[in-house]
Symmetry: C2
């Protein structure tokens, strides 16, 4: 998994607390990361329809839907795509005892086991929303955890 | 995940059907892959205690325990190590509102969600054994699916 996923998730959680759209440069400053790098992640989120860019003087990025309607899997797929961890190369079709291609219409037992594990991983990430993550932050640091971020964003 | 995992799993399934130890070169020939590449995967399995090498004229590799006692996760970890898909870089400790390191003794909400998904993936792979995979092969290709492999191994 790329490091971009971690930045993108942190940005989404921050946006749940923002009363107005937040410029990409401001999100980069808050996270102490290069603006061009973070812009790339935000563009991935935007292409996936998770955030949208508001133009103009008070412009910036905002979530397109409620944080409880954006899952962690949505963000992972937006940034990293849908490529599974295991890629079957059809080893059964190789060598002196190769299974004929026409007999290989369904995935083999190894490929099925790997696909099931991949789906378990995806299901776990689908079961956690950005709202859950934001609740986790206030659970860890207290109900005023986002007040500092809101004040800092307003101070621009 | 490295491609070596796929080769290693195929080798383990073949070894469940082998009446005697199988030389690495023979496993490579069966799978139509370079012997030196496959030797590397077999050495990983050996270091993890999943296979052992029998020396001598009738030597080769054999499973060290019953196929129902070797999980797919055992093989994945033997070949690829235990590095999780997501690596937390403690973004919360960066920037103008950084959380002090001493307040970061437990993983953050994002890291916890990722770790839970990783554990779901591992649990799925832990729930499938090499015996299950071999049963999958006979389920797909009939009860005599391994007869050809046994005959080919005996023909060396």
């Amino acid at each position: 998994m790329s490091g971009g996923v971690e930045w993108a998730l942190h940005c989404c959680v921050v946006l749940t607390a923002a009363p107005a759209p937040v410029p990409a440069a401001r999100l980069a400053e808050l996270h102490d990361v290069s603006a061009s790098y973070l812009a790339k992640q935000l563009q991935s989120l935007s292409r996936a329809g998770l955030v949208h860019s508001v133009q103009g003087h008070a412009g910036g990025y905002a979530l397109t839907r409620r944080p409880q309607d954006i899952t962690v899997l949505d963000v992972v797929v937006a940034v990293d795509g849908v490529q599974p961890a295991f890629v079957c190369t059809e080893i059964r079709q190789r060598g002196p005892l190769a299974t004929p291609a026409e007999a290989c219409t369904a995935p083999c037992a190894i490929s099925r086991a790997m696909a099931a594990a991949d789906e378990a991983w995806r299901a776990a990430l689908r079961g956690v929303t950005i709202a859950d993550l934001a609740r986790g932050v206030t659970g860890d640091y207290g109900p005023s955890a986002f007040d500092g971020i809101r004040a800092w964003l307003a101070s621009a």
